[in-house]
């Protein structure tokens, strides 16, 4: 049986978008909303639904778009064969605060369904699945730090016990007006490079590979 490898990745951190096929610089934007729009324009895709998403889902969507940019990798798989196992530290807190703001004032009480629907962290999985027509398993964990061991075990065991052939592992965080995200594609390869083999160690290495000293998670430096 062929080995599993981390075959592709896309990481958005600080001012860069780093993928296995190239690095892009994030254009300057006044605020996070504008920054995300600029990244979207970089992609040159036409997906109006993007504008309805909250910032967390936009971030996840954009990262996945860079991962699959000009790649036909998904064509190898049927929709139900590709799973998504994601995690983050902040759940949907940024959007939670928006929804909460809409119910703070009894005299101006208009909760918005288009905001409320995004007050769950797994919605980003839905957005990625809708975009790329993926129908495999979806699981969303919340953990303070990226737990490479748990992600590796969960995905390896899923491959052993189910018919999935590929999996996206993601870590997408938007909190305290800082965003960072990573998505890795795990699939089989006949000729894997040792550094790409799907192991806890390699996943961790790739996750932190481009982490500079400015990387924070929940206000803490990793």
């Amino acid at each position: 049986m062929a080995d599993y490898v981390i075959s592709k990745y896309a990481i958005i951190r600080d001012a860069r978008i780093i993928t296995d096929v190239g690095t892009f610089v994030i254009p300057d934007g006044d605020d996070d909303g504008k920054k995300l729009k600029q990244i979207y324009k970089l992609l040159e895709v036409d997906y109006p639904k993007f504008y309805k998403m909250d910032r967390l889902s936009k971030l996840a969507f954009l990262t996945a778009e860079f991962l699959f940019k000009e790649s036909k990798v998904l064509e190898k798989y049927a929709p139900h064969q590709v799973a998504l196992i994601f995690s983050n530290a902040s759940s949907s807190l940024n959007t939670d605060l928006n929804h909460n703001a809409s119910i703070m004032d009894d005299t101006n009480y208009y909760p918005k369904p288009s905001v409320f629907v995004y007050t769950l962290p797994n919605i980003m999985l839905g957005e990625i699945c809708i975009r790329h027509k993926l129908r495999g398993e979806n699981v969303f964990f919340v953990s303070e730090k990226f737990n490479a061991e748990i992600m590796t075990i969960t995905v390896i065991d899923m491959f052993k016990l189910t018919r999935h052939k590929a999996c996206l592992i993601g870590r997408i965080d938007y909190d305290d007006n800082q965003f960072e995200s990573s998505i890795f594609l795990i699939e089989q390869s006949a000729n894997p490079q040792p550094k790409d083999l799907f192991t806890t160690r390699n996943l961790e290495k790739k996750f932190y590979k481009f982490a500079g000293k400015n990387i924070k998670t929940n206000g803490r430096t990793i």
Binding site: P48, Y51, K52, Y110, P111, K112, P113, S114, V117
Partner: protein, 83 residues
């Protein structure tokens, strides 16, 4: 009525995050759902919130909402009839 059409179109663009759209881009009689702007069920619910917030009109049944929101004109007619 023209003023109301304009106000509604601007409201729709704002409330539904229709990026890069202007008031002139929305035809008064074009269907808003399925074809035309291709709005979905969450958009319909947002329009219900807009109706209550901006026009003081409460719509409790999403099905009734779909009829009222057929086009900008039908929304305007509903508002004119009920205010």
């Amino acid at each position: 009525m023209e003023e109301l059409f304009k106000k509604l179109k601007a409201g729709i663009i704002g409330v539904l995050n229709l990026e890069d759209m202007e008031v002139e881009d929305i035809e008064t009689d074009d269907p808003l759902f399925n074809e035309g702007l291709g709005l979905d069920s969450i958009d319909a619910l947002e329009l219900i919130v807009m109706m209550e917030k901006e026009y003081g009109l409460k719509i409790n049944d999403p099905k009734k909402g779909k009829e009222i929101f057929h086009s900008v004109r039908t929304i305007a007619e509903f508002i004119t009839k009920n205010q």
